[in-house]
């Protein structure tokens, strides 16, 4: 079926089978492989993207649902070749080990970042509770996100 939506700030359209997930569509149709597949069942968060400004697991969103929506993936948050401050702070904090959970983590954090609100450390923990990381023990990830959120001055 034909679907039209916004992907990383650009209007796009494509023809995909209805049973495709958003994850499969962005990876296979648009070649954006930064979004990872860790389980394909909505349990690990590696596939997290933004849909209409909210973090969703793209493996549990079917393609037809995406019609008319605004999707942002990990590839869509860098500006002019510069990393987003969340990415910068996560790198500095040592939040990245194997890196497989990382894009999903960044997107969950980004969903907080774009809200005009203050978030505590506990809020951050809850926001990424659906993003599993087997490597880091989470602490440095949360440090990085916290620093990035602080930089907004809120």
């Amino acid at each position: 079926m034909k679907i039209e939506f916004r992907l990383n700030g650009k209007d796009v359209s494509c023809d995909v089978p209805e049973n495709y997930t958003l994850l499969r569509m962005i990876r296979e149709v648009f070649g954006l492989t930064g979004t990872k597949k860790g389980c394909d069942q909505g349990e690990c968060g590696a596939c997290t993207v933004l849909m209409d400004k909210k973090a969703v697991t793209s493996c549990t969103v079917l393609a037809p649902v995406v019609n008319g929506k605004d999707i942002i993936t990990i590839e869509g948050i860098e500006k002019d070749g510069k990393m987003h401050i969340i990415q910068e702070k996560m790198v500095e904090a040592g939040a990245v080990q194997c890196g497989f959970c990382t894009p999903g983590m960044v997107m969950s954090a980004y969903a907080l970042f774009i809200q005009d609100k203050h978030f505590t450390r506990e809020d951050i923990k809850k926001a990424i509770a659906g993003n599993l990381c087997r490597c880091t023990g989470y602490e440095f990830i949360i440090d990085g996100i916290e620093k990035a959120l602080e930089s907004r001055g809120k």
């Binding site: 930064g34 860790g38 069942q41 996560m90 939040a95 080990q97 959970c101 923990k125 880091t136």
Partner: protein, 755 residues
Amino acid sequence: MGVGKSVIRVDSVEKVTGRSKYVEDIYMSGMLHAYVFRSPVSHGVIKRLDVEKAKECEGIHGIFTWKDVPGKNIIHVIYDDQIFLAKDRVLYQGQPIAVIAAKTPEKAREAAKLIEIEIEKQTPLVDFEQSKGSDIKIYGDDNVFCSFKVKRGDIKEAIKNEDLIKVEDTYYTQHQEHAYLEPQGAIVYWENDTLTIRGSMQAPFYVQQALTEVLNMKKSRIRVIQQTTGGAFGGKEDVPNIVCAQAAICAYHLKVPVRMVYERDEDMMTMSKRHPGRTKISLYCDKNGFFKAIKGEYLENAGAFSTLTPAVLYRGTVHLTGPYNIDNVDVIGEAVATNTVPNGAYRGFGSPQVIFAMESIIDTMAKKLNMDPVRLREINLLKPGEKTCTGQIVDDSMGMQEVFKKCVKESDYFKRKEEIEKYNEENEFYKRGLGVSTLYYGVGLGAAGKHMSRCAAVVKIDGDGSMTVSVGITEMGQGLRTVAAQMTAEAFGVDEDLVVVSEIDTSRIMDTGPTVASRGTITAGWGIVQATGRIKKRIHKFLEKKYKERFEDVHYRDGKVYFGKNEMDFHELIDLCTSEKVRLHETALDMPPECTFDDNGQGEAYFVYAWAMNVVETKVNLLTGEVDIIKAHCCHDVGKAVNPREVKGQIMGGSLQGLGYGLMENMQLSSSGSLLTRNFSTYTIPTSCDYPEFIPLIVESEYSKGPYGAKGFAEQPLMGMAPALTNSIRDACDIHLKNIPATPERVYKLLMEEK
């Protein structure tokens, strides 16, 4: 810049932007997808297998069975008992029978449904305690894969002393799933008439060896490259041999690229796990609390094939008695077969099971003696110059005492103990507790794996001063590439920016064994120190010739080179060397110190040890049995922290895996051996809401033979967390957990029994 600094990881920008390419991110034109048809039963005889109808399906390019294996139908690991594609019998549910190559993964799965198979079911042997000598035969006459013993002193004589105090118990531990976030995968294609494999793996040379045998090809025609790997923890040590062979047999026959990426449930169901174990310990001490003798019996459930079990059992047996000074030791370890998924390497490698038992029983002894568990450990911990259970003197890089002091002090153990006592008096339904564990870890492959123990590096400096380093060690998230870059940069006093650590490729570097056993830093480091040292020597000679003068030393610092009264920019020096044809390319190959292990389990079991202590605080809800982990002090002697921030990352990540093992990770099997927990909703691992306040502590007692004083430790953070946790639960509410995980159900049940 350099060793000892928390430099930014060299691979982090690529990863945080999503640009790193993992196996599933590679698409090749004409690429097919492989999918495995597996045994639906745990034990049976294959009567008929017919893939012809399935082959006719649209989109199917080939289906391969044992008949299509050009070489040996065996996946080589240590013993050759692991069948690649089942021929006449199946020994566990999920055992591979055929590999399907199709245009899409969906088509492959549809075709799998059309494969006709008749299996005569046989009674499966699932309970590992019934395995030895069972009528159901899986391996050899008695189902025993292997055994080890450690005997020291004279146990019989020692325990005759009737004044000794004895405690005895049996402990059980469960399977543990690695839960690396990236599932197993590989892509195989032909290039330059060479079968090229890119995979998610820890040990490319294992894969090369295994494929040589399966495909009956020359090693040089099989090129294995490690792709960016999304976590491994032991789960990608030998298992990629299987995964790569599955994709490779398709590419071998069809001559097109074939990619194979496991689905999560397939991965959980069929890939290796931590061995479940039973550990029985009798510990004897005198009335002052000094350990006098220990008897231990360790039984491992290996699953259907031996895979890495002999090596896993070796480590478990040697680590059972812990970092304590005990003169009389009698430990036996045995591993047996069952009709369940083969178990293999997992961070700690057979030791977390026995450490759980030993550290628990020490607390029983402390109770019996009415002594604080920390005091009891303190008087028994090994001191420099004393001997381990294998009779090995530990004096080099022996940080146990310092670790102990630091951890007790930083955790403020005794003061918190008092506070907690007060809290518990005032609270009826919540009780808090403090639990500890002390442990050690033999770095490297030890005597059991010494035939694979080598280290190598290739260092090349280009005319502009930038360098490329290749080592035989893989990056799987632990930070090896960063550490290798730091050590190379340190040698020349330059910034890490100048160093690229190349991907590991069997066609470029010699086999230096697997990236396991916390041997990455030391193995890569030895090679780098040697290769850079030789280049530096050559430059030194060249400078002396050029300046017609002898220089005591050529010193590299902050991008400059100092010799005699001269000073030169590093780049200038390299430019000069290049134009005068000084060879700035070096390959080093070396052997680490020798390890030994005799028939009685005595010898230099490992060349060096790492040391650790954990203090864990928990809060138990007496009404529900729920346990909250509040704080964890984790103190590790690492020799030299090449990158302290990354060391802390390893401590926290590893410790959380250990806490998950102790608290919640609960793999379930049915009575017929079918694995029931196949996804992250049934097999739960710690999330950001489960982890405690971590206080990672580093001790650096440098290893005289190590590169820049480093040794290795990355498995150790996991190993002692389960007992520190259960000991703290015991401290809180006086229940003795002899099984993990400490699920609310289990804790609640014990609380009820206690009443």
